[in-house]
């Protein structure tokens, strides 16, 4: 599925300073019954966001109108647990294009990159600085520059560089995906498969 190119993103951010946010929290299993990829944003963080009677939980950050934006900032070990890509779909569908944390679970990171969400891993110290900046001003802007691999807090000018391999960076900046790449090398794959004992 095609996604928007990612170059430079400047946006306010939504803070979620909780550690070990697993993909069952991002989207509970009972919302995985669709056979198409649409509408998952409505159930993003469903059980933290809504009560059993579907009324919004007022103390959850997505229900607080002062916070908005295309960047989600979360505590360490974000996206652990189930491999469900639905978690990344829900985050994308809700409107986020970038998730910032001090540590990501592997499968979630791969899934995000594959659908055009940029996971930005920062140091624990820089993560705290972002949380403090948002706490001081809910409209604080963050700039994520993929080409320069730099994340900047606009209000303070503080910045930190982040890592991404050049293959994935090229894909995200151009809206390409791995399937395009693999389709272009099928003869090589077929030759390889011919040697397999399985």
């Amino acid at each position: 599925m095609a996604y928007d190119k990612f170059t430079v993103l400047t946006s306010t951010a939504v803070p979620l300073p909780i550690e070990n946010v697993d993909t069952d929290q991002i989207i509970p299993a009972r919302f995985l019954k669709a056979t198409e990829r649409k509408g998952f944003g409505d159930n993003l963080f469903r059980d933290w966001r809504y009560n059993g009677d579907d009324s919004p939980k007022q103390d959850f950050v997505l229900n607080n109108p002062i916070y908005s934006g295309k960047i989600l900032v979360a505590g360490k070990n974000f996206g652990s647990g189930s491999s469900r890509e639905h978690a990344a779909w829900a985050i994308y569908d809700y409107g986020f294009r970038c998730v910032v944390s001090s540590f990501f679970a592997d499968i979630f990171k791969n899934n995000s990159l594959n659908i055009g969400i940029l996971p930005v891993q920062v140091s624990p110290e820089f993560l705290d600085k972002i949380f403090l900046a948002i706490e001081a001003d809910a409209k604080a802007e963050i700039t994520v520059d993929l080409d320069k691999q730099l994340i900047t807090i606009a209000a303070t000018g503080e910045s930190e560089s982040f890592a991404i391999n050049s293959y994935k960076k090229h894909n995200l900046m151009n809206g390409y995906d791995d399937i395009d790449y693999l389709q272009a090398m099928k003869d090589e794959i077929r030759t390889f498969a011919d040697k397999s004992i399985y």
């Binding site: 019954k33 669709a34 990829r37 647990g81 499968i107 659908i115 994935k168 077929r190």
Partner: protein, 468 residues
């Protein structure tokens, strides 16, 4: 073969790299691809949108498990969304020529149970599935890990994914596991030591006396939970136990092909002098039956211990307090004696015949506690048949338990098998996340022996007190 000393993981990984991309991932060839109803439909839609075909239909196997009922499987599935998903798997499999063991098929069951028991999973393979517990298959000396739906589409269309090579971790456990201490306890102990993110970025090899002496069922339980410490997967070098398990299974090689395969499989060990990025050593004598008290699998302790304080547990105090608050527990609480409401035995972690034998060893001659609701869910129809043949069914029935039909069931509670809000469940599954077993449900992860002890006493009980 490389002349440099290599690890088991290196040998299998390097044999599957089709192309290396500079400052990028490896193009990684996949020998076996399992699919199920929940994470495959959007991948098939992707194929249609791009007008792509399945490149090697005989390398993909479909089974329905996540979203299936565990009673009345002969009747039409009630929930229209679930029925639609099951239908999509059947239709897509038929359209592209993929083997499909749907609901009602005698081979049907949980994907990570049916793969090994039918000889589809073999040493030295690369195996993926849109399910994080694909790590289970590492028990055979395979590189096996969970993938997302975009990657399912890649494997269907090109039999490859793009994957950076993980770092290597070695976990040694030496000595002998004590009475009442099972493979599940060994892995819960390791996770409690390493934390839920302690192996992120790594692929694990489990080695040492404990794993060498472990059955294949036990090894599968251990490798299954590798993902619960963040590792993509974990593997154990294949040995005579592995070969004996595989030999004669339906899809295992036979005759000359078996001899050839066996000769190769015997080379799949870590060479002397090969190095790992990190090594951990544990002693079996330090491991007692385990139980979790929090909302990630790293929050586990020996069953006789008390819940640690936030300071002792480490990490963010707010997150720790949120977790205990959800569980309705407090720092320094004893776990023994806590009243429980539900018991679930099953899942890809502990839904194999050995697990039901262990459960039956404790409930035999005892009765289910009146206030406990127990869900006994075999991992496959083959396991279900074994339960009946071995007389375990009769032991369960006499003790007041009912056997359900195979599926993932209350492990992820996608079907109707949901633990009600606020209730406590001792569960042999793999995740105690908030709401994992139903909105508001509180999960205590444990072994089949601990689950059985809780089922007959109604409280958290040390199974060693009930073993003769």
């Amino acid at each position: 073969m490389s002349q440099q000393p290599a690890t088991l993981f290196d040998k299998v990984w390097d044999a599957h790299v089709v192309r290396k991309i500079e400052d990028g991932p490896d193009v990684f060839f996949i020998d076996r691809h399992f699919i199920h109803e929940v994470t495959s439909p959007v991948a098939f839609l992707g194929l249609e949108n791009r007008k792509l075909q399945v490149m090697f239909p005989n390398k993909t196997f479909a089974t329905a498990d996540h979203n299936t009922p565990t009673i009345n499987q002969h009747l039409p599935v009630q929930d229209p969304l679930s029925a639609n998903q099951l239908k999509a798997l059947e239709t897509n499999s038929a359209k592209y020529g993929i083997s499909h063991w749907g609901l009602g098929n005698p081979k049907n069951g949980i994907v990570h149970v049916v793969g090994p028991e039918n000889g589809i999973t073999l040493p030295g393979m690369t195996i993926v599935c849109g399910d994080s517990h694909t790590s289970t298959h590492g028990a055979f000396g395979a590189i096996a890990f969970g993938i997302g739906t975009s990657e399912v589409e890649m494997v269907l269309s090109s039999q490859c994914i793009m994957q950076p090579k993980p770092k290597k971790m070695l976990i040694n456990v030496n000595g002998k596991l004590g009475k009442g201490v099972t493979p599940k306890d060994a892995v819960l102990y390791i996770i409690s030591q390493l934390t839920a993110a302690g192996a992120t970025g790594y692929f694990i090899e489990y080695a040492g006396e404990v794993f060498r002496e472990m059955s294949m069922e036990g090894r599968m339980t251990v490798c299954n939970m590798s993902i619960e410490m963040g590792a993509r997967g974990g593997m154990i070098a294949p040995d005579e136990t592995t070969f004996a398990y595989i030999k004669g299974r339906e899809k295992a090689p036979q005759g000359e092909a078996w001899d050839k395969a066996l000769a190769y499989w015997k080379t799949l060990t870590t060479d002397e002098g090969a190095t790992f990025d990190v090594v951990y050593d544990y002693q079996a004598a330090d491991i007692e039956p385990q139980i979790t008290y929090g909302t990630n699998p790293g929050m586990g302790i020996g069953i006789s211990q008390r819940i640690p304080t936030a300071a002792k547990a480490g990490g963010s105090k707010a997150s720790y307090e949120k977790s205990l608050d959800y569980m309705g527990f407090h720092e320094n609480d004893a776990m023994l004696g806590k009243k429980i409401d539900y018991v679930f035995i099953g899942s890809c972690t502990n839904g194999r015949i050995e697990d039901f034998r262990a459960f039956a060893s404790i409930v035999k001659g005892r009765k289910k506690a009146d206030h406990v609701t127990a869900w006994i869910v075999p991992g496959s129809h083959i396991v279900e048949a074994q339960i009946r043949e071995e007389g375990i069914y009769d032991i369960l029935t006499e003790a007041g338990f009912q056997l359900r039909q195979p599926g993932c069931s209350a492990c992820l509670a996608m079907n109707d098998d949901k633990i009600p809000a606020g209730k406590y469940a001792v569960s042999t599954s793999n995740r105690n996340f908030e709401g994992r077993q139903g909105p508001g449900a509180r999960t205590l992860l444990a072994s089949p022996l601990v689950a059985a002890a809780a089922a007959v006493t109604g409280v958290v009980t040390d199974p060693r007190d009930l073993i003769a």
